[in-house]
């Protein structure tokens, strides 16, 4: 046993076993990163150098738009997510118990569908402007001014109200976990609720809020559906134009690398945000008493928390429901069940696989060194890559492998194996995993990080190997986060569209592709039932998620310093005995 220098590293008890784990993790990380590496490869060796043209025409403008969109969305999700999380976590007001989970609901609605719905409502022919015209006697657009929904502002509006749950989810947990003593100390020292929020709670929750915001901004960066519909020309739009319009994969991949610069900034922000995390919870006596809001403030809190749900969920879901009822007879048929089955199947598989890999990588990081850390970071970049680009990135290694196997089989045995993986459900699941691994990984890593290394050491000194320690000790301790991670990957996979379109097998539709087929022709009404089903399928896990987190928290609350000890105690001797 040679102890390493810096932080306590837990893979020391049996170096050879830990090494196998790290090797496996590295292979996995490389596989997951392969589509991204393929894109980088294309960027380095373009067929025709189009860079000077791009740099002198669309690139500056589109980079600027991307930056504006990210700043706007960042501010939007921060304000909505952290304010609602603070209210729900620390105060008492009418409806709080419902808001606790209902604030997550917008997560279930695909952004592009929200964009369609608000365009219908807020555009010239929509009910809002119609009413205004009736009241004031205006006739045409030239008679009055009304904010244009198809604009940067519109995109900020829609995306903020769909993406804030990322911040809310993490910020709420952070606020709940803050030891009550800190907040109480602040209040006894004479600070009001506001001052406590800004000077104590917010800085302490910085890691969670930064991580949530970074996730929301990665989604922003990768989004094509919403910005395309709103005619906001971001870098994603130029990637699409250059690749699928000009047929210049190299140029597109180069722009994708520019986008990567944005990601690097985000990831560094995230890392800075997490840096001091480990030393936070010296006392785990959680906030048990809530601020009792009085009088008008109570209702103000209710309205503040109700608004995001109304805008991000109730209105879009309501509009979809109305359309779904009107078109119910045409939509409710055998084909619909096929779409629903495909969606559920893919999303379940993606969630399971992503979770497994996330655990593997996160645990590998716990056991290992900075090199593995970097490798696993690369594997997470898929989250910020637009779906269609990622799809082509997935095609490259898959088809290469398939064709290589086929070539060998033809040479050796004279039989063709054809495409084994390309164009199958497997390729789709893989794409989802690459795309959404970051979300699952973030949740798993964060909660693994909260388990003291002394746990590992105790288990290992009792004879359990790394795998056994993970299985008997870590997994049960972090089950809340596992469920959270799986849920988010599930919901995101249900909503995924561009990669699904390109990679899917023949005659294969998911709810999302079915919706798209009609929505892209401005005929959303006819596929509203499918759209609504995506939303409903997302609600159930979202509610489960919220409950799971609340349960874990209430179990931990009141337990002495390390909350999960009761689960651990029986596990350790068993692990030792079985080895």
């Amino acid at each position: 046993m040679t102890p390493r220098k810096h932080q306590p590293v837990v893979g020391q008890a049996r170096p050879h076993k830990g090494r196998a784990w790290i090797l496996g993790g590295s292979v996995m990380a490389v596989i997951v990163a392969s589509p991204l590496l393929a894109i980088a490869w294309i960027a380095l060796f373009p067929s025709e150098n189009i860079w000077p043209h791009l740099a002198s025409t669309i690139l500056p403008r589109h980079s600027w738009n991307t930056l504006l969109l990210m700043i706007g969305n960042g501010i939007g999700v921060f304000i909505i997510g952290s304010s609602t999380a603070w209210l729900v976590a620390t105060s008492d007001f009418p409806g709080r118990r419902i808001f606790e989970w209902a604030l997550l609901l917008p997560l279930a609605v695909p952004a592009y569908i929200v964009a369609f719905v608000y365009t219908d409502i807020l555009e010239f022919a929509g009910p809002v402007q119609g009413l205004l015209r009736d009241i004031f006697g205006w006739q045409t657009k030239r008679d009055y001014w009304f904010p244009e929904i198809r604009s940067m502002g519109g995109a900020n509006f829609v995306m903020s109200f769909v993406l804030y749950p990322y911040v809310y989810l993490l910020a709420r947990a952070a606020f709940r976990e803050q030891s009550a003593s800190v907040l109480e100390a602040s209040r006894t020292l004479g600070r009001g609720a506001w001052k406590t929020f800004f000077t104590v709670a917010l800085p302490l929750s910085r890691p969670a809020i930064v991580v949530g915001t970074a996730l929301a901004l990665m989604e922003t960066l990768a989004d094509f559906g919403t910005v395309d519909y709103f005619a906001v020309n971001t870098l994603t739009v130029s990637v699409f134009d250059v690749w699928f319009g000009m047929g210049n994969a190299g140029g597109a991949a180069q722009i994708a690398l520019v986008m990567l610069a944005f990601v690097v900034v985000l990831v560094s922000l995230e890392r800075i945000g997490r840096r001091d995390r480990r030393y936070h919870n010296t006392s785990t006596r959680h906030t048990s008493s809530r601020f009792q809001l009085l009088g008008a403030r109570r209702w103000l809190a209710t309205i503040l928390c109700g608004l995001p749900i109304l805008i991000g969920f109730l209105i879009p879901a309501g509009v979809l429901t109305r359309h779904a009822i009107v078109f119910f007879d045409e939509s409710w048929n055998a084909a619909f069940f096929g779409f629903a089955r495909n969606s559920l199947m893919l999303a379940t598989m993606a969630a399971a696989v992503a979770l497994a890999i996330a655990v593997f990588l996160a645990y590998g990081r716990r056991l290992s060194n900075p090199f593995f850390g970097m490798l696993s970071r690369i594997a997470l970049l898929g989250y910020a890559v637009p779906g269609a680009v990622l799809a082509v990135g997935v095609l490259i290694p898959f088809a290469t492998l398939d064709n290589a196997v086929d070539g060998l089989m033809r040479d050796w045995f004279g039989v063709s194996t054809g495409l084994i993986l390309s164009g199958t459900v497997f390729a789709l699941v893989f794409a989802y995993v690459v795309r959404f691994l970051a979300v699952g990984f973030g949740a798993v890593e964060a909660s693994l990080g909260k388990i003291q290394p002394s746990m590992d050491m105790a288990a290992r000194s009792l004879g359990a190997g790394p795998s056994r320690t993970l299985w008997r000790i870590h997994l049960p301790m972090i089950r809340g986060s596992l469920i959270a991670a799986a849920t988010i990957v599930f919901v995101d996979s249900m909503k995924e569209l561009p990669a699904t379109l390109i990679l899917r097998p023949f005659n294969f539709d998911t709810l999302a592709t079915h919706v798209y087929q009609f929505a892209s022709d401005e005929l959303l009404e006819q596929s509203a039932l499918s759209a609504l089903t995506i939303v409903i399928a997302g609600i159930v896990p979202v509610i489960l998620l919220s409950r799971a987190i609340t349960n874990v928290q209430s179990q931990r609350r009141g337990a002495p310093s390390i909350g999960a000890i009761p689960t651990l105690t029986p596990a350790v001797p068993a692990a030792g005995a079985g080895d």
């Binding site: 045409t140 657009k141 030239r142 082509v392 088809a399 164009g423 390109i502 005659n507």
Partner: protein
């Protein structure tokens, strides 16, 4: 330990799902001589023709639809690609596919007999199936018929400042029109035209062709560019009927020649595993029956001689197509996109 048991169950469930019928079904499709199509067109527009083909020949047609990335998918899949046929909505994708080397030349007396030479690739790498004209939709209320532009060139006239709407300049239909402009007038004049047109736009390019007509109805602009068949499709749609009612269609000329037309078309893939049935399908799609379906249901111009246009198409006026070869349009597309970027058309 209950949690670990749940975890094991979930893993088992996933394994079971992975081996579910969906995978088997798609493998079978490749083997039984069925025709596999990669389509840039929405399935609900072409499914009736495929169904008719299946009824007639007993051969099933399988479809993957996406608006982007299918040529790239073919490129990667290489010689093992299961796809037999590519379906596109414009000339650009057909020539992209040919340039990417994923098509093969095919030629039969029926195909070359029915499809005019100008609407197919000379070696048979792609064939047009229908023609669609890029026309003007002009406000009935605000532009007297006599004052409406007679040519695409006039759209750049400062008269129309703040009165024109189009979709994104990078869309294949706009790119093809710009490419035709380059082919007729050369790069410099085409660029001037684009700048002039951009200066006349009432709003930033957005939405699809129908959305531009809607904007005319709502008073945001007076003239829009759009494909001809949307007129019929809008008239059929309860909500969009009023949009179509607010405009009249105008067939402008390009370089005094005729109206810019594009094609929807097909190309046999290089790796096509079921060549024989694929040719059958290609020939069927040029038959009078299929051509008539295109004309009646989608309001496109049939390419087969003697197949009547739909009543609505005839009522819209006579189409005199630009005689420019589509090859020339395809050739100038990269330049067109560059010009569109240079004048910042979409900003």
């Amino acid at each position: 330990m209950r949690f670990q048991h749940g975890l094991l169950a979930a893993i088992g469930l996933t394994a079971a799902l992975t081996s579910s019928p969906a995978l088997a079904a798609e493998q079978a499709a490749i083997n039984k001589g069925e025709v596999n199509v990669y389509s840039y067109r929405q399935p609900f527009l072409i499914q009736p023709m495929f169904d008719a083909f299946t009824r007639k020949s007993g051969v099933k047609v399988n479809v993957v639809f996406a608006k982007k990335g299918l040529v790239e998918r073919l490129e990667q899949e290489g010689r093992n690609s299961p796809a037999d046929l590519i379906f596109t909505v414009d000339i650009g994708r057909l020539s992209d596919a040919q340039n990417a080397g994923v098509t093969q030349s095919v030629s039969t007396p029926i195909l070359t007999g029915v499809i005019p030479q100008s609407l197919r690739q000379s070696d048979g790498h792609w064939y047009g199936l229908t023609q669609r004209a890029r026309i003007l939709y002009v406000s009935k209320d605000r532009v007297p018929l006599d004052d409406a532009p007679k040519s695409y060139e006039e759209l750049a006239d400062p008269n129309w400042k703040g009165r024109i709407c189009t979709r994104s300049g990078s869309h294949v239909y706009q790119v093809a029109l710009t490419a035709a402009m380059i082919a007729h007038h050369g790069e410099a004049r085409a660029k001037d035209w684009l700048s002039g047109l951009k200066a006349n736009l009432a709003r930033k390019p957005q939405g699809n062709d129908r959305a531009q007509v809607k904007a005319i109805k709502e008073g945001e602009c007076d003239i829009s560019l759009g494909n001809n068949y949307y007129f019929g499709l809008m008239l059929q749609n309860e909500e969009q009927f009023a949009w179509a009612q607010s405009v009249y269609p105008v067939f402008p000329t390009l370089a005094g020649n005729g109206t810019h037309v594009n094609i929807s078309g097909m190309a046999m893939t290089k790796a096509s595993p079921n060549k024989e049935n694929t040719v059958k399908l290609m020939e069927f799609l040029t038959s009078n029956l299929a051509q008539q379906m295109y004309a009646e249901q989608n309001f496109e111009y049939p390419i087969a001689e003697g197949v009547p246009q739909s009543g609505l198409l005839r009522s819209m006026g006579k189409l005199k197509p630009d005689t420019l070869e589509l090859d020339k349009v395809a050739e100038n597309r990269p330049m067109a996109i560059k010009l569109i970027n240079e004048v910042g058309y979409n900003d």
